[in-house]
Symmetry: C2
Subunit: 160 residues, 2 copies
DNA sequence: TATTGTTATACTCTATAACTATA
DNA sequence: TATAGTTATAGAGTATAACAATA
């Protein structure tokens, strides 16, 4: 349990971190905005999967994921093949063109970070990654549908 | 200088941290979305200031800041008084109603984090804050060319 | 001429709800 | 009935550019 001032500071930091994200988005190819890049990156890391699984990894709604997927599929970066186990689903898989785009993204990202984070050690970047992953995990427990046990969810309702 | 894999992992983490920000935004009052909350919080922390200064602290364009400010001013949370030193500018200042809203925001934020981050120590949250501040600072050097002018902007670091 | 701030416009990302096809 | 996915719609956040007032 941390002090209130640390919580409020964290809220501020998260609010302001958007500037870093936008800085990163600015170096992407115009054809491949951040949402598309995230789809490609996750498919490379985790291998072929369904939309629902991808939505889970992206931590956004499936409807949003569906649009991102349609965008990258239109450009030939992924292919959607039938899922023999469930005709409602399709399996998403990277194409060679998609892999080429990913390689390009990796080059741009690395160049950007190598310039802006040149005074960070390898270990420091690793620590930040670890903490961010833990932060996401802690929050995931709050939003995730594994509602086990009694209803403990706080009343976040607000009158429209 | 860190390894490329750490850079790509950081890009992924930043992409996914949006889910945490949205979780935080969900608990805000409908009248006070994230942009408004950021304006109020910065005015409380740094005291009265002009739009241009606020835009710098928010790390967004002045046009965006102008809209956020108009929103909070309409609701009476801040007041805009003439700047005697420059008639083009106005000085932004919190009102008592604005302070009341800030107090409410603080309560909601603390309750949220106390629930989701209950297994984080005070020190761990502080470390994350420090790293995020440093990350923003490293990126700020990239986008905002060192304007070490007469206004000597204090380091983006937080005054503890 | 340059700067401060405002407004109009457009784009990205997101969630909710309605819909279809299948389980 | 329930689930996987798509699409329509709405809303927040942002940037660029054109503009007004002042420096």
């Amino acid at each position: 349990m941390a002090a209130q001032s640390h919580y409020e500071e964290l809220a501020r930091q998260l609010s302001a971190i958007g500037a870093v994200k936008r800085g990163l988005a600015r170096i992407l190819p115009p054809e491949c905005p951040a949402g598309s890049a995230a789809v490609l990156t996750l498919l490379e890391r985790h291998g072929e999967m369904r939309i629902s699984r991808l939505a889970e990894l992206l931590a956004v709604d499936m409807s949003v994921t569906s649009r991102h997927v349609a965008h990258v599929a239109q450009r030939g970066w992924i292919e959607r093949s039938a899922d023999p186990a469930d005709k409602r689903s399709r399996i998403l898989r990277l194409t060679p063109e998609g892999q080429t785009m990913i390689d390009d993204l990796g080059l741009r990202t690395t160049e950007m970070f190598a310039h802006t984070l040149k005074d960070w050690t390898d270990d420091e970047v690793g620590q930040l990654n670890t903490m961010l992953a833990r932060l996401r995990d802690s929050f995931g427990d709050c939003r995730a549908p594994h509602v086990r046990g009694p209803e403990t969810r706080p009343p976040t309702r607000t009158p429209a």
